[in-house]
Symmetry: C2
């Protein structure tokens, strides 16, 4: 029955005429020309959402960090490396107007204060690295004068629900999707995922399924909440 409902929604092309912007993958924050800080995000969830949104009729812009994935058909892809580049690209797109923003990217929260021009030599026993906060992309989108329906992701390893609820409120999001990445069968680099999706007046559990199936269900949920 759920599958049929989903099929009906997709038949209805719920997002036709809507511009959906999705961020995906990690970012890289350079220490020097060869070394960088990054994280385990594969980009698979964001790419699956881009595909599902396009299938639901949306115009899709996918802003991707460095990942090893092909671009889904009918999706416009913009590749970025650093968090500050992803931030600027997102702000430009929001400034030009979009309807839904889904932030799946695992943006580096911090970057080195300086990037060395040349490869750091292995001379000293210790290196002291100072990292500064990167801009908070999804919070900046949600605060924008032309704010779209804004969906965040929370990948946590502890107190998952509490942190996700906190982010929903503090970042003024319309919806947040959360998973526990401390296990090995969901989340980062897995082909499967399980999400708990939270919005101000409710929540829904999307049980373990392929990222493609989870993406369709989440796009459906976003389309319904967006129309409310």
């Amino acid at each position: 029955e759920i599958i049929q409902q989903a099929a009906e929604v997709f038949d209805n092309q719920l997002l036709t005429g809507k511009h959906v912007v999705i961020t995906a993958g990690p970012t890289r924050e350079s220490i020097d020309p060869v070394r960088y800080i990054t994280n385990k995000s594969s980009g698979k969830m964001g790419f699956a959402l881009a595909e599902a949104a396009a299938e639901a009729g949306a115009k899709v812009t996918l802003i991707a960090g460095p990942v090893y994935l092909p671009t889904p058909s009918r999706v416009e892809r913009v590749d970025v490396i650093r968090a500050v580049d992803m931030y600027e690209t997102c702000m430009d797109v929001v400034e030009n107007g979009c309807d839904v923003f889904i932030a799946t990217a695992a943006v580096a929260d911090y970057r080195p204060t300086v990037t060395a021009d040349h490869k750091i030599k292995k001379s000293t026993e210790e290196i002291h690295l100072t990292l500064v906060k990167n801009p908070d992309i999804v919070a900046s989108v949600a605060e924008h004068a032309k704010r779209p329906f804004t969906v965040g992701f929370a990948a946590e390893t502890q107190d998952v629900m509490a942190y996700a609820q906190g982010k929903l409120v503090n970042k003024k999001l319309d919806m947040i999707a959360t998973n526990d990445v401390s296990g090995t069968n969901v989340g980062f680099n897995s082909d499967n995922n399980a999400l708990t999706v939270i919005w101000p007046s409710g929540h829904k559990v999307l049980p373990l399924a392929s990222k493609a199936q989870i993406a369709k269900q989440l796009i459906e949920l976003i389309a319904i909440r967006y129309k409310d």
Copy 2:
């Protein structure tokens, strides 16, 4: 004529009965369960060398950091993540006896002193990270009582030849292959490479070619020098 010479050497199966150990790819040094420090090594050069060594008749052990590459046929592959794991794996293999060791891996020179058990929260404006030196794998191999013929790689962005010569002497290597990764058409993640190969009594330039061709030429050079 060069191609014919190379073909003859490979026909001769110059490395038959020899055990060649090759390290490849980057390593990952965890900051917390999702964040890590790494570098731009794709592993392509090491994998090409493993294939070329197997074609020259060697038994090949390929000790690989996290890369997105298929294992060449007739090559035994051991996957590792951290520099300390790569170090221990290499020491075990050398302890058990091998003939040639080729260190193409871009091993992280430093690792965070502590790895946080849980994802670090974006609470403070700055983070101060202390990194400590990782063991020097190729130097440890060259110093080992059962030292094989030891070949290092030097990926530099400045004063390439001077640094490579210094490494050859300081690390007591038999040979070092060096390239300048500051350009974009060779080295990291490229399918092409150009090397200058240096040994105590001479050097040879391997001009720009595919990594597969460069690998065959370097394996030939190693086989010749090893027999001297």
